[in-house]
Subunit: 430 residues, 2 copies
């Protein structure tokens, strides 16, 4: 039985989960892996967090500077989050010949090349299964199981908080604000929810998956990103009537024009498997030339699901240690392959449009002539409310159209006299 | 770049797929893995199959005896299927210090202990991702990604042929025989379909997943198995009216009474994700104490999807070779942990029952009194057809009841004068 000593940085929800799961499931872990994994040092500035974990007396409480070079630590588990000082901590740990396990998507999405170069120089690994999709093993599956595939498309629901909010809005007709408040009360949304609801968290995760899938060093800034803040239960309800759910999708496609990378609310047919992914669950579709289409579904966040992935990564590092540091990890995480970005203006999709119009004759003619002028053809129109002289919604579903054309058309339509509020535009995926 | 030489046994659909994918995707494979994987020898008794693959002149065509000890072969890929001589071939290859990749579920489900013992003695690995679920990475995910979990339940659709037949029966109201014929014409079902339609193939796969998930050396004979041969489109249509789909499920649960292992047609709520798994697709749910519930979905068979898994396994073996044979593979595949089987008679589920009754007053009273006597309570009854004196169907959905009680009740009911054919019994999972 080989001892694997873990230095755990960050004892928040996830850190506590890792500490506790390593204790509760140590029997099955050692039986399956031949490794005796134990936390030997922790680092956490919040004393209450340390108290909540109540580590064994043998566990050292160290500073950041101390833990990354502690002699009795083989693997550093970084769960502090954020870019600084996490980046420095990881790099120092690697230089001190520690393997690293991290759940830090913000850091990896934008600094992976630097970090993985240091890792290679020091013959150590950086494992990051927990950075995307909680318990969903998408990192390992992309890197190992689907290693023989040319990956074509990766898309899915990568953020549990927004999926929970959208589920509440769909099921209970809550406003975004009310659904967010409930999510915060339940601990599903953070006090400052911006990173989640703006789509940025999904973009970080999509960047990591794109690096692995396409071998291109994209970063989160390359990803066109829209959040869910401006969605109304009215739009979700309208979508349902037309046979669609509304999900915040992260989409990466390898097209002939380049990489198409985008995060935005999307109408999906209710028959699509992703339409059945509700609450805080996550799911990722991967399309490859050999596998066809494959889906991974599971808990996208939470203490125990994330701990499951962190511990699987500790085991991976532990096996390398027990093999005498024979690191055979593939190199796909820091390829610097050139790539073109497919501009969002060139995107061709169909659209859901909700116009706020003053109800009077000729309004639809005005809107549809602007759409026609911009090469946008209409698939369906509905104006269910009537209220002469007042604002009523008009819903239009379009055929496939260019994003750039749609932008121009909507700008022009928003200036029409009969339009009383900005038009709501949501993309549709079939 | 490390050369990995593959000896490929069996050049049928899968073997051809592996050979071709290794050629077509060799660039991306070597870039991602640092390995130069090439087939250097093949073994196939059907000369037409060899001709169809048209191997390069440098590839040797060898006999079974020759290929397992060929000096320029590092990894044996066994795709011949069946128990004999596949078992001997695998064992000889391991004794000759070859790593082994196999898709042979029948062999692994019942002989894994012997094979993995030889593998350990020779410090070589046996990789078998392609044995369950085609492109679905369930073996790797269970062994590596979910290694920290106590696994509670594994269930899913593990056979593409039967799922295709059931989809056709549901969509087009075809009989089992007609749907089977179409599946055979499309190459989805074998000429001799027994292994698939009887549920035995699903049982082989469930045995392998149970060994990995529960660490118990179960074999396919431990699994209660029913096929889909006696299902009628009428039952599938009735199920739909009540909000259920009909799927051939493989179910393994770790209960307080022991392992519950079963393969049988099952009514599933249409809102369940597995109800949306159609055609020849497969899907597996895994429940663990950390991950909660996780789903893997994808192509369950076919040349390219299976080749994807076979090649991922060749890469795993190749990494061990390039690390200097530092095999850190965990031991979970041949645990000989004692286990109890939960008897099928003790199973408690709700049931769908279709009685063929002679339409006359008092019939329902007769049936329901036998059910009541056996502690089975009724949730719903429907007799939609009326035809005095003729046979009409009566459908009953029950509350949770014991399988043993149900068996006794149905035996008694089948003997009633008013019953004109054996009662159809299908279990329901909620």
């Amino acid at each position: 039985m080989k001892d694997i000593n873990v230095g755990l940085i960050g004892l928040g929800t996830i850190g506590k989960g890792v500490y506790e799961a390593l204790l509760s499931n140590c029997d099955i872990l050692s039986k399956r892996t031949g490794l005796n994994i134990a936390v030997t040092a922790v680092c956490e500035k919040d004393k209450n967090a340390i108290k909540a974990v109540n580590p064994d007396k043998s566990v050292k409480v160290l500073s950041l500077e101390e833990i990354v070079k502690a002699e009795d630590v083989d693997v550093i588990v970084e769960l502090m989050g954020g870019i600084n000082p996490a980046k420095e901590v990881l790099i120092n740990a690697l230089k001190n010949k520690k393997h690293v396990v991290t759940a830090n998507k913000a850091l990896l999405s934008d600094h992976s090349k630097e970090i993985f170069t240091v890792a290679e120089e020091n013959n150590r690994v950086v494992c990051f299964e927990a950075s995307v999709g909680g318990a969903i093993p998408v990192i390992r599956v992309l890197r190992e199981s689907f290693v023989a595939n040319n990956i074509d498309t990766i898309y899915g629901i990568l953020n549990g908080t927004t999926n929970y909010i959208l589920s509440e809005m769909a099921d209970k007709a809550y406003s975004f604000e009310k659904a967010l408040k409930i999510a915060q009360e339940k601990g599903i949304a953070e006090k400052d929810p911006d990173l989640d609801v703006s789509g940025k968290d999904s973009a970080h995760k999509l960047a990591i998956l794109s690096i692995l899938g396409f071998g291109s060093q994209v970063c989160s800034e390359d990803i066109y990103t829209e959040g869910i803040e401006s969605l109304s239960p009215q739009d979700i309800d309208n979508a349902k009537k037309w046979g669609y759910s509304v999900k915040l999708l992260a989409i990466a496609k390898n097209t002939s024009k380049g990489l198409q990378l985008r995060v935005h609310p999307t109408l999906l047919p209710v028959t699509h498997l992703l339409s059945d992914v509700n609450e805080a669950d996550n799911a990722v579709f991967i399309k490859g030339d050999l596998i066809g289409e494959s889906l991974l579904f599971g808990k996208g966040a939470g203490s125990k699901p994330t701990a499951s992935s962190v511990i699987a990564d500790i085991v991976s590092a532990g096996k390398i240690i027990s093999s005498g540091e024979k690191n055979t990890d593939e190199k796909m995480v820091y390829s610097s392959q050139e790539f073109n970005l497919d501009k969002i203006e060139d995107l061709e999709v169909s659209f859901y449009l909700r116009f706020s119009v003053i109800d009077k004759p000729g309004v639809l003619a005005g809107i549809s002539s602007v759409l026609a002028k911009n090469d946008i053809s209409i698939a369906n129109v509905a104006q269910e409310e009537r209220n002469m002289g007042e604002t009523v919604p008009v819903i239009i579903l379009t055929h496939m159209a260019k994003e750039g054309d749609m932008k121009k058309a909507v700008e022009e339509i928003n200036k029409l006299d009969c339009i009383s509020a900005d038009t709501v535009v949501i993309r549709i995926e079939e």
